[in-house]
Each structure stands twice: as C-alpha cells, then as structure tokens.
C-alpha cells in the first residue's frame, strides 16, 4: 500500500510535508522548468516587502564548509508587482502557496498582509520576523518577544487565513519567542531562519560579503535546527515546519521525529533543484520499509535517552 503523505497544518491540507524555503525558489517560475510544482506540499515565495528592493550589492553569497552565507538583502519585486505579475502565474500551479512577508515597521507588515488578504491564492502567510540581513525591522521583531507578539496580533486582525511565524535562531531562548508568537495568535511556527555568520578572505583581509555578515544555511546548520525544533516542540503546542540544511529524505525524517509536521527545503535547491522529487520518492520508500501507513506517524516520535 502507498503510504499517505498528506499533512494538515492549521486546517489546511497539504499533499505532502515537503515545501520550498523562502528565498530559495524565487516565485516558482524557474523551478517549474525542473519539475511540476504540484509535486510540492507548498511553495513558499521569496520575502515580499511593500516597495521593490534591489538588495545588497554583490558579492552577496559565499560558500562555507557544508554551507553558504548569504546577504541578498530581501531583493524582491514588491507587493504590488507580486500581486500583478507573480500571482497570476502562481494561480495556475496546483500546489499550496505560502507567501513570505517581510517588513521594516509594524505598519508595513500589516499593510502587505491586508493586501494579501484579498488574494485567495495566498493559502497562508509566513511572517519573516527573522531576516538577519537588513538594517532595520525583520529580525528586531523576531528577537523581542513583545514585538513578536504584537506584529502577529496586528497581522491576524487583517489576514484571516493561517499565519506562520518564521523564527530566528539568533536569540538566547527560541522557546520564549515561540510562546510569544503563539500568544500573538500564530497558527504555525517555522524554524529556523539562517544563523548570523561571516567569512574573510585572508589574502585581501576583506569580508566576503558587502554586508560584512550574512545568514549561514545548508547542511552545516542542520544539527542546530534539529535541536531547536525539538526544544520548541517540547514546550509549545503549535504545529512546526522544520527548516535548516534539509537535503535528503533522511534529513526530513529527523525533523519529523523531533516534532516537525512539515519541512522546507532551501539551500539544497541550489545544488539539486529537483531535490524535493528525490526526497518524496525516498520518503515513500522509507515509510514502506518501516511499514508506516502515514507520514504523520513519524511526528514527534524521537526516542531519547
């Protein structure tokens, strides 16, 4: 029998737990040349801001051992062009759409989410309160529990469909932020965003990013992400989307075992653009081998010493 891959988060049913991570698949057009997007549980768009953003000057990515640093700086087309140019194409894709929203002020978050409220195809919003690469906003909202709660509560007033709060690992206690997000009315948590890091060229003594620091992603951060998902799952009732260095079905299974209900594949898409397809095949084989009828049978089942 084919195992059931369906997962339900905050009342929304996804065909499987595999999503793309924000900033790793643009608005989906390029990836659709590689595989049909209906294979995905959901596509998470690049962060949308009120105004279009060019992002930081290059260089804005650097390779690190088993990982990468990026300081793109939220380059995006802005919410107006997103609604006018990107949504009509996304509407033709048979997958769930989670629109990632970033802002530099409370007003900006609320304004963008209010505009998306009228856009039926935005099945969920993921609130980026954790971007490490912009000078104002973003991470300020995600590192202060009162601000986390406030921004989520205000957005909930204008957007009635489920809201995902994307949490940063760059805090002392991520559980405190998770609880603040829950208090504010978040329906789902996604974690982790990238970890602040940097890299220096020892010949020129120059940092490798014009932003001087960036967000570390890729396999290098997977163990950290797993521990943080475990911590949040153990202390918070909201469903979790696990993110951080996921490249294979084995990675997905680890995240599900520590309590994630779904996952996002990010940096791995840069290396293997069809990684989600391979992951789904291998995940199905694994469930069959373990004689599990549903992928949800794995969630939170980690055995601890």
């Amino acid at each position: 029998m084919t195992p059931d891959l369906k997962v339900t988060l905050a009342g929304v049913e996804f065909s499987n737990p595999i999503m793309t991570a924000s900033g790793c698949c643009g608005y989906g057009e390029e990836l659709a040349d590689v595989f049909p997007l209906e294979k995905l549980g959901a596509l998470v768009t690049k962060s949308i801001t009120r105004e279009p953003r060019l992002g930081h000057p290059p260089p804005r990515t650097a390779e690190t051992p088993a990982g990468m640093l990026n300081a793109i700086g939220l380059a995006n087309v802005g919410v107006k062009r997103f609604l006018a140019e990107k949504i009509p194409w996304l509407e033709t894709q048979k997958t769930k759409i989670i629109v990632n929203v970033a802002g530099s002020s409370l007003d900006e978050y609320v304004e963008i989410c209010a505009m998306l409220a009228d856009c039926e195809r935005a099945d969920m919003i993921e609130l980026n309160i954790s971007c490490p690469n912009v000078s104002e906003g973003g991470i300020q909202f995600g590192t202060n529990p009162a601000m986390t709660e406030k921004v989520i509560a205000e957005v909930k007033k204008v957007f009635s469909r489920p809201l995902v709060a994307k949490l940063t690992p760059n805090v002392t206690d991520i559980v405190e932020m998770a609880k603040a997000a829950e208090q504010g009315g978040a329906d789902v948590l996604s974690l982790i965003n990238s970890m602040v890091g940097t890299s220096i060229d020892i010949e020129t003594w120059q940092t490798r990013l014009t932003n001087n620091k960036g967000g570390l992603t890729g396999p290098a951060i997977k163990p950290i992400a797993l521990a943080l998902v475990d911590a949040v799952h153990s202390n918070c009732r909201l469903p979790i989307i696990g993110i951080g260095g996921i490249a294979t079905a084995a990675d997905v299974i680890e995240f599900l075992l520590v309590g994630a209900s779904a996952v996002q594949v990010g940096t791995a898409l840069f290396v293997e653009p069809d990684a989600p397809v391979k992951i789904l095949n291998d995940l199905t084989s694994y469930l069959k081998r373990k004689q599990l009828a549903r992928v949800t049978d794995l969630v939170g089942q980690v055995r601890k010493y």
């Binding site: 390029e30 060019l54 290059p58 990515t61 390779e63 990026n70």
Partner: protein, 264 residues
C-alpha cells in the same frame, strides 16, 4: 525533454594541459544539441564538503559522439577536485544554462577575445561559426595570457583557419602586451561599424574591452564570470549592476551581456 535537468555523464577524455589547465570531455550527453556558445554547465562535486556546483563554460561540443568539453585552470578547491576526475568517472551536470553569444552578420568581422581562463567559450564560438558557414578569415581570434605557457590549443585554433593573434604580457609568445592593446592597434584604420566583439576573460580585461567598444563605437558582447550558487536564477547570488539601474543575474540573464550594458 524537461527544460532543465541534471544528467549523469562519464568522463570520456581527460587532457592534462600545461600550467595547471585541464580539459575534461563528458558523454554521452543527451542535451548536446541544445548547447550553444556562451552557455555553461553546472557541475556537482559530490562526496566533498563543497556545497555549490561549479559553473564551467562549454569549450566544445561533438554532436555525433554526444560529448561536451570543458577547459579550466586549477584555482581553488572546486577546480582541484575537478582536475582529479579520470576517464570513466561519473559526473552530474545541470545544463546547458545561461544565454548565448549571438552570431554576427556574415558581412561583419568577428573579433573574438579570450583572456586566460576566459578562452574556452571563444574556442566554442569560433568552432561554431566556422561550422555554421562563416568564412574563417572573417574571424580574428585574439588570445591573451601572461606568458607562453598560458596560450593553449594553438594547433587546434590554427586548424580552424581563423586569423590567430596570440598576445602575452611578457612577450614570450605572440605580440607583447595586453590583449586590449593588440585589439586597439588591429582596428586602427578599419571600418568599425562592420566589426563585432565577443569577449571573455578576467574582469579588468572585460572592463577594458567594454571601454574600447564604447569609445570606438564597436558593438559586441561580453561573457561574465561569477560564483553561482544555483545557476538557474533563483538564489540571486550572482547579480551584477546594470547601467540602466537594477541588477541582472549572471547565470540566468547572462552570462553574455552587450557592451555598455553592465557596470564593471
């Protein structure tokens, strides 16, 4: 056939060229007929902690044998790993990616400028033009390097029948000086509106070529190099600023840009 896909191919030939340069030929590559001059393949380096693929310009294609060739110099960890591949080893390619050099008019004189590691796409361009029926004598092939040891594949270039202009900084082979100086003296007194430049090489060279083209009113195209995490336009890591404002992705909007288009 999907627009984009990864393909596993084998190394069918490996040539150890001089001065840390290597040539690798891969096949059978079902997408060989889709390849055009200026495009690149993105090569995975598995079983290492090297995360990103490596973008390599296509240096030649053989549609009968379904093979493609890359030529590269060992400059870092990625190229070191690549240089260790041997005949029969399997390699995972994503491609062909990027846009292409555009063919000039048959009435135009093509100035092909390859500087050092930027030589391979010009070899492909020259070969493609000759195969497409261009008169080899309408092609001026400038090849610049630091010294004699940097100028590869001389017999191969000469066999194409193109006008070959090797240039070395130390004068140990061909003309002495910089490639752009050699081009500048070549164009003196010639009809510049009937010329078209195609160039690939280090950034200072491309900047000089861009300046030369704008100053002398010669149209043309530059192929840029940039570290590319994804190669397919999604990560926005390899952008270059445009003169008209905004950024372009070297991988998906390029790597070939018109002279005067990019801020170098």
């Amino acid at each position: 056939m999907k627009k984009l896909a990864t393909t596993t191919v084998s190394v069918t030939a490996r040539r150890d060229l001089r001065n840390d340069y290597y040539s690798l030929t891969f096949g059978p590559y079902p997408r060989v007929t889709k390849c055009r001059p200026g495009q690149f393949v993105h090569i995975r380096l598995p079983e290492t902690d090297i995360l990103f693929r490596r973008a390599m310009s296509i240096a030649s294609v053989d549609t009968d044998r379904r093979e493609i060739e890359i030529i590269f110099k060992v400059v870092g960890r990625g190229t070191t790993v690549l240089s260790r591949y041997r005949k029969g080893d399997q390699v995972d390619l994503l491609g062909p990616l990027g846009n292409t050099f555009s063919l000039p008019k048959k009435s135009e004189r093509a100035l092909l400028l390859g500087g050092g590691v930027g030589y391979p796409p010009l070899l492909y361009m020259a070969t493609h033009m000759v195969r497409s029926g261009f008169d080899p004598k309408s092609i001026e092939f400038f090849y610049g390097g630091r010294s004699d040891r940097d100028i590869l594949d001389r017999t191969r270039i000469k066999k194409l029948g193109v006008n070959f202009h090797p240039v070395t900084e130390d004068g140990s082979f061909g003309q002495k000086g910089l490639i752009t100086h050699a081009v500048e003296s070549f164009i003196q007194g010639q009809k510049k509106d009937r010329m078209r430049i195609f160039a690939c090489g280090p950034e200072p060279m491309l900047k000089a070529v861009d300046d030369l083209g704008l100053r002398e009113g010669i149209n043309g195209e530059l192929s840029l190099e940039a570290p590319m995490p994804c190669g397919i336009g999604v990560c926005l890591g390899c952008v270059v600023p445009l003169k008209q404002g905004g950024h372009a992705r070297v991988c998906a909007d390029g790597p070939v840009f018109a002279i005067g288009e990019v801020i170098l």
